[in-house]
Every structure is written in structure tokens, then in C-alpha cells.
């Protein structure tokens, strides 16, 4: 009997969309929490080499970034196509690294300075001359803790 009754009642009840915002908000909050908005706009090509013997850089406030690589195509007409260093949002020379490290140190508290790590985000096509120069500058300002940023190579061994 009940089946027959239902058949007679043609109009289906409208599906309530009231809970849709809740679902979307839930997703929204997840992404808001998980988001790390990029601090620097990359001006150099930055495809990092692969490695598997890696460790995680945990505290992002204890890391300063040095980018290096060939300038991106839209800057190439202005700065040429030789590999360059990028500090913050500007192209820089090797000599600017010291000032950069000093500025980074000044923006942090005294107790944090010994734990400050320099992350070298260097393009895999860069040559070691440039990397060697960067390392030498870092040694001169006593910023000895470095990390060669790499991508994760999941191949075992």
C-alpha cells in the first residue's frame, strides 16, 4: 500500500543545500591552515636536483633562502642568461650575500642566530663555480649551517 501511495505523490522534496556552505567552509579552513604563502617571487629558474639522503627543514623562521639559477625567460633580456643569485626579491651579486645575512640576522632575536640555517635553492643546471662562491661568502660571515635544498628521489638507494 505504501508504495502505491508514494507513486501517487509525484512532487519530490527539494534537496536542501543548506549544508553545502558548511562542507565548503570545512575545506576552506583546511586549506587556510595548510597554506604557506610564498614569500619570494622566483625570478630565476629553480628546478632543484634529486637526492634521497635528505632531512626536513623544520622551523621556517630559522631559515634564510638563497636562490640561484638562470634568470627566468622574462628577465633574460634585462639581465642576460648567465646564472644569477636571487636574494629576497632582487637579483644580487655574490658580494651582496654578506649584507643579506647580516640583515636576516638583525631581524631575529639573539638566541635564534646560532640555529639559523641557510637554505641553498640552486638550479640543477648551475655550475659549481657559483655555488663555491656562495659558500665562501657564507663562511666569511660565519653562517656555517647550510642545507642544499633538493627534491625527494623516492628510488631506494
Amino acid at each position: 500500500m505504501s508504495i502505491l501511495k508514494n507513486k501517487r505523490n509525484k512532487a519530490l522534496p527539494e534537496i536542501s543545500t543548506a549544508s553545502l556552505p558548511d562542507i565548503v567552509f570545512m575545506l576552506l579552513f583546511f586549506f587556510m591552515v595548510a597554506t604557506v604563502i610564498r614569500e619570494n617571487v622566483l625570478m630565476v629558474e629553480n628546478e632543484m636536483p634529486m637526492a634521497n639522503q635528505i632531512e626536513k627543514l623544520d622551523k621556517s623562521d630559522l631559515v634564510m633562502y638563497i636562490y640561484a639559477g638562470k634568470p627566468s625567460s622574462r628577465y633574460r633580456s634585462r639581465v642576460g642568461d648567465q646564472a644569477r643569485i636571487q636574494l629576497n626579491d632582487k637579483f644580487a651579486d655574490v658580494g651582496d650575500i654578506k649584507a643579506f645575512v647580516m640583515a636576516e640576522r638583525a631581524s631575529r632575536t639573539e638566541t635564534m642566530i646560532p640555529f639559523l640555517t641557510t637554505a641553498l635553492r640552486i638550479d640543477k643546471f648551475a655550475n659549481m663555480g657559483l655555488v663555491g662562491d656562495i659558500k665562501n661568502e657564507l663562511r666569511e660571515v660565519n653562517a656555517l649551517k647550510i642545507n642544499y635544498n633538493t627534491r625527494i628521489d623516492n628510488n631506494p638507494d
Binding site: 543548506a18 556552505p21 586549506f31 634529486m50 640543477k124 665562501n136 666569511e140 656555517l144 649551517k145 633538493t150
Partner: protein, 203 residues
């Protein structure tokens, strides 16, 4: 008495607003964290002291401008490098004070005395590709990790890599101290002694 109906606010557009925000955060999200090979640079010393290292305790790894690897003058493929480095570090050829009880190498008299004495000298040309350099650094680190893992397994039943990842996970103070102590002990068995030479133009 007439019932006054409060007009209901239409919540239909709420979803649109939330979607807009959601898409913004979706686009700007980079969930990936930074990973890399951690290294410590040597400090610059004012007084240059000559340290004499015996020939047999030194493994010379060279990278030339054509990205070719040579170890002690012999050209080598990157896939062999780890094996050679492990054999060199784990040789334990010394005797008496210099002997190494935990080494499981060949105890060859012409290779390194013990891991504490063994030094890897890494040199590269200015023209060497960065990717090659990282690949070599990766292999060298892998060799140390392999040996450290073995010793950690023997001494504590947990591998060195596991201890390190546990250290990053745990929040317990006592556990952190304990793990740090163990990691330090393992490191002292196979101390990482890689000496880097300033890049030269070519070989």
C-alpha cells in the same frame, strides 16, 4: 492576532563566497615543506695549520668539468661510489691504538686505519654541474648513513635514520635528550669527515 513572519535570509550565496575563498587558498597553497641535504661548512681559520694526513687515510674524490667522477685517480661511475666509500670508511686497517673493533671491512693495511681517521677529500671544477655535485654528496651521505644504521641497529636495535625521524616527531623532553645522546654516540663511531677543496678551473 496576525503572526509576523520574519523573512528568512537566503543562505544560497554563502556557498559561492566560501567557494571563492576556497579557490584562492587552493591556488596559493604549497603544502610541500623544504627538504635537503644538511651540511656544516668549515669555519675560516686565521692561522693556517698544516695537518698531515696519511695517504692511506685519504680518499680523493674529484669531479671534473665534464661531470666525470674519479676516486683516487680512477674514473668511476656514480653507482659504484657508495660501495667504494663504504669499503674505505669501514676498512679498519689500523692496529693497536688505531684499531677499530666495530669495523667489518677487509682490514686492509693500505686503506684507512679507522673511521675516525678516514678523510674524504672532495674537489670539483668551477664548471662542474651542480646536479652532479649533489648526486655525489648524496652518495657520500648515503655511505655514512649505511654504516651508522648498521651500528645503531647493533647497539640500540633501531636504525640511525629511524632515530633521526623519531627525534623530529617526538615532543617528550626525556626522549629528545635520550635520542640526542644516542645519535651523538653513533656519529662519533663514524664521524663525517669530508674536506672540500675550493673549486679550481679545471684538471
Amino acid at each position: 492576532m496576525t503572526r509576523r513572519l520574519v523573512p528568512r535570509v537566503n543562505a544560497g550565496s554563502m556557498a559561492d563566497i566560501a567557494f571563492l575563498l576556497l579557490i584562492f587558498f587552493l591556488v596559493s597553497t604549497t603544502i610541500e615543506t623544504d627538504y635537503g641535504i644538511g651540511k656544516q661548512l668549515p669555519p675560516i681559520e686565521d692561522v693556517q695549520t698544516d695537518i698531515v694526513i696519511k695517504e692511506k687515510n685519504l680518499l680523493e674524490v674529484r669531479l671534473n668539468q665534464n661531470n666525470e667522477i674519479s676516486v683516487d685517480g680512477v674514473k668511476m661511475n656514480i653507482s659504484k661510489l657508495k660501495e667504494v666509500v663504504v669499503a674505505f670508511l669501514d676498512n679498519g686497517g689500523g692496529s693497536g691504538n688505531e684499531s677499530c673493533e666495530y669495523c667489518r671491512g677487509k682490514h686492509d693495511a693500505i686503506s684507512s686505519d679507522n673511521p675516525g681517521r678516514a678523510v674524504i677529500s672532495l674537489a670539483n671544477s668551477r664548471e662542474t654541474n651542480y646536479a652532479t655535485y649533489i648526486a655525489v654528496q648524496n652518495e657520500l651521505t648515503a655511505a655514512y648513513t649505511k654504516l651508522r644504521n648498521r651500528e645503531a641497529k647493533r647497539m640500540y636495535g633501531v636504525s640511525y635514520s629511524e632515530m633521526k625521524s623519531n627525534l623530529q616527531k617526538t615532543r617528550n623532553r626525556d626522549q629528545i635528550l635520550e635520542l640526542n645522546e644516542k645519535i651523538k654516540a653513533i656519529r662519533s663511531l663514524y664521524p663525517e669527515r669530508i674536506s672540500e677543496i675550493m673549486p679550481v678551473d679545471s684538471y
